[in-house]
Structures are given as structure tokens and as C-alpha cells.
């Protein structure tokens, strides 16, 4: 099963060059196998970094773990009514009409908050990671670089509306590409930050920050 897992790491989780299980994917696989390191933040980082490679660096192909991104997207914009205990199962149950990019573009341009599934049936988490160490948000290490994401903007996805505008400092951006500039220093900072993960807990009143979980 290890060889199957390795192949899936290369082909599905960390695609880079077409038709290649590259060194980066092999490295994440080995880290997971021998050091029990978790690939989920890496997969999420690679989605963000793939978008930045397109937006900032002019890349034309969006290469990242598309099935996860797709399941995530459908869990929010899909028709209401289908409910499963597992998000992947939910997508499998659905008969989604095949549309071209322009037709999906029209569909998306008509989306409003009322149409979004804010409470998927499979969502069980009562707490979310809010920030790590000295970072005001969550820093992620991907296979190509490091990037942050902003849980404060995702509160509604976990059951509460965003109250007011988030302050600018909480959206401080982080983006480095491995091997460039001060990337090594950034990696060291992120590693330290992940030793102090602050979660936001949901209770009957509102979100409160009161839990510190070591993720190492």
C-alpha cells in the first residue's frame, strides 16, 4: 500500500509537472511515512501557491490537488438537500451538470450569500486554528513555498458571521518561494510558530480564543 500511497501523492495530491511523481511529492510522502508529518497543511498551501503562481507570476496552468479543491468548493456552492457524513461521498452522490468555463462563470456571478451552504452536514469541528505563534494568521509550508491564509475571514464557514471588518494586521501576508531570498529563515519561523497553535472555540455565545494545542 505504501507504493500506492506514493503514487497517489505524486499524481493527485502534489501534481507539478504533468505525468511525473516529482521529488517534492516523494519528500512529503517520506516525511509522512517516516516522521509522521501531516500533509494536509502542505496540500492547502499548494492550492494557495498555485493561485499565486497564476496571479503573480503569470503561470497559466493551475496545478494543485484539484479533487480536494473541487470537493471543498462543491461543499459550499452545491445544491442544498444532499447531505452525507463525508464530503467526498456528498460529491459522489450528486449528479452535477457538465458546464463550460463561461457557463460556470455565469453561474458564479449570480451567487449570493443566501445560496451558499454555510452548514454542511459533515462539518464536525467545533474549534478552528486561529493563529500560530507570532503570526497573526496561519502560516503554511507547501512544496514550492510558504503562504498564509486568514481564518478570520472563514468564521462564517464555521457557524458565525464575521463581526465587523477584520483589522489589517490580522491579514498580514506571507509568501515566499523555497530557495529564494529569506525563505530558509521563514521556514524556521513557521516551524517555531506551529509549536504554539491558538484555536478559536465555538460555544453558545460567540467565538472565544481559549485553547492552545501543541501540534507537534
Amino acid at each position: 500500500m505504501d507504493v500506492l500511497a506514493l503514487t497517489l501523492y505524486g499524481v493527485i495530491l502534489f501534481p507539478n509537472v504533468e505525468d511525473l511523481v516529482d521529488y517534492a511529492a516523494i519528500d512529503v510522502f517520506i516525511a509522512s511515512k517516516t516522521r509522521s508529518e501531516n500533509p494536509v497543511p502542505t496540500i492547502l498551501a499548494d492550492v494557495y501557491i498555485a493561485l499565486h503562481l497564476c496571479y503573480d507570476m503569470g503561470k497559466r496552468k493551475l496545478m494543485c490537488c484539484l479533487p480536494v479543491f473541487y470537493v471543498w468548493l462543491l461543499s459550499r456552492i452545491g445544491e442544498k438537500g444532499i447531505s452525507a457524513q463525508c464530503p467526498v461521498e456528498e460529491v459522489m452522490q450528486r449528479k452535477l451538470e457538465v458546464k463550460r468555463t463561461t457557463n460556470w462563470g455565469e453561474f458564479l456571478s449570480r451567487l449570493t450569500q443566501e445560496k451558499i451552504k454555510w452548514h454542511p452536514s459533515w462539518q464536525q469541528k467545533s474549534s478552528i486554528i486561529y493563529y500560530c505563534g507570532n503570526y497573526p494568521n496561519v502560516p503554511l509550508i507547501g512544496t514550492k513555498g510558504c503562504v498564509n491564509y486568514n481564518p478570520i475571514l472563514a468564521q462564517r464557514q464555521f457557524g458565525y458571521p464575521i463581526r465587523g471588518s477584520p483589522i489589517a494586521v490580522s491579514l498580514t501576508t506571507l509568501l515566499t518561494y523555497h530557495g529564494e531570498g529569506d525563505a530558509t529563515e521563514t521556514l524556521r519561523h513557521i516551524r517555531t510558530a506551529w509549536k504554539k497553535v491558538i484555536c478559536m472555540e465555538r460555544d453558545s455565545r460567540a467565538w472565544g480564543i481559549d485553547r492552545e494545542i501543541p501540534y507537534h
Binding site: 505524486g10 494536509v40 493561485l51 453561474f107
Partner: protein, 172 residues
């Protein structure tokens, strides 16, 4: 008259997916009980393998990304891909685990040969370079997997191709 949203769908990017034909065929060779143990050990990758992704939807959705705030921004709401959702989709909990830390060297052949039970020399000769990036062609791994499946060993956690069994014992 074109609205602002029509004009938004103009970034020249396209979501691309690898060819999954070969690996899907392998996934089908696993029995249900094997699929379950795979999922428990690694996460729901086999479930994801069966998803038919409409890349056209992702291409259209990517137009809504706001790089400054790391969110997909619409008329009156935002969507943010988060760790907690990805954990559930992949069925792989982060709690109690540390995230992957990138390291700059890639001296992996001996470790991988131990995991795969394939001689390091054979692995090294299978390494290729495509567009300046090194790795294995999926077909190389797939044919090894078919070989394991033919020996009823695809579901084993320590697949061991018989010709290398002896080697496994003598090399620490």
C-alpha cells in the same frame, strides 16, 4: 452590456489535472476491506481518485481569488479554503501531528528503496528529469503496483517483490 463579473472571467489560467487512467485501474484492484485500511492509514485518497473533477468550474472559480486577502471574494460574501475543511475532505486529522516541514535536500533513494523494497540501483535508474524536475514516471510505479497486485500483495502494507526478498534481509 457586460457586467463587471463577465469581465472578471478573463485571467488566462486553466486548471489542469493529471491523467488518472492508470492509477484508477489500480484502485479498482483493491477489495473493499483493503480500501478501508488504506483510508485509515493514509486518508481518503482513493475516494478522491474517483471524483470526476470539472476543471471548467475550478477555472471559472479561480477568477474570484483575491490574492491580497487569500480569499475568493463575491458580491456579498467570501470563501476561504481552510485546514479544518481539508482535514475532513482528506479524512486525515492534524491534531497531535506536526505539519510537513520542507527540507532542501532530496537524498531519498535509500529511504525509498527500504519502503518500496526495490533495490536502490533500480530506483535510481528509473529516475527521470522532465522540464528540469526530477522524479518517477507514474507508469514505473504503476507497473510495479500491478506486479504486486498479481502476487496478491497490493493490499499489503509492506509490498515485497519476490526477486528482492533476499536483498531485503541482507541490507539493513
Amino acid at each position: 452590456m457586460k457586467s463587471e463579473d463577465d469581465l472578471k472571467v478573463k485571467l488566462p489560467i486553466k486548471a489542469r489535472e493529471n491523467n488518472l487512467f492508470g492509477i484508477r485501474a489500480l484502485g479498482r484492484r483493491l477489495r473493499a476491506v483493503q480500501r478501508n485500511s488504506f483510508r485509515k492509514k493514509y486518508g481518503n485518497f482513493l475516494g478522491l481518485l474517483d471524483i470526476e473533477v470539472q476543471t471548467s468550474l475550478i477555472t471559472a472559480f479561480a477568477q474570484y481569488y483575491d490574492p491580497l486577502v487569500r480569499a475568493f471574494t463575491f458580491q456579498d460574501f467570501q470563501l476561504v479554503p481552510t485546514l479544518e475543511e481539508f482535514e475532513q475532505i482528506l479524512d486525515l486529522s492534524l491534531e497531535g501531528k506536526s505539519p510537513y516541514i520542507y527540507v532542501e535536500h532530496h537524498a531519498f533513494v535509500s529511504t525509498l528503496s527500504g519502503i518500496m523494497k526495490v533495490h536502490p540501483k533500480e530506483l535510481e535508474s528509473a529516475l527521470v528529469n522532465k522540464k528540469g524536475v526530477g522524479g518517477f514516471i507514474p507508469k514505473f510505479l504503476e507497473s510495479y503496483l500491478h506486479q504486486l497486485a498479481d502476487q496478491q500483495k497490493l493490499g499489503d502494507f509492506h509490498g515485497c517483490s519476490s526477486s528482492y526478498t533476499i536483498w531485503c534481509y541482507i541490507v539493513p
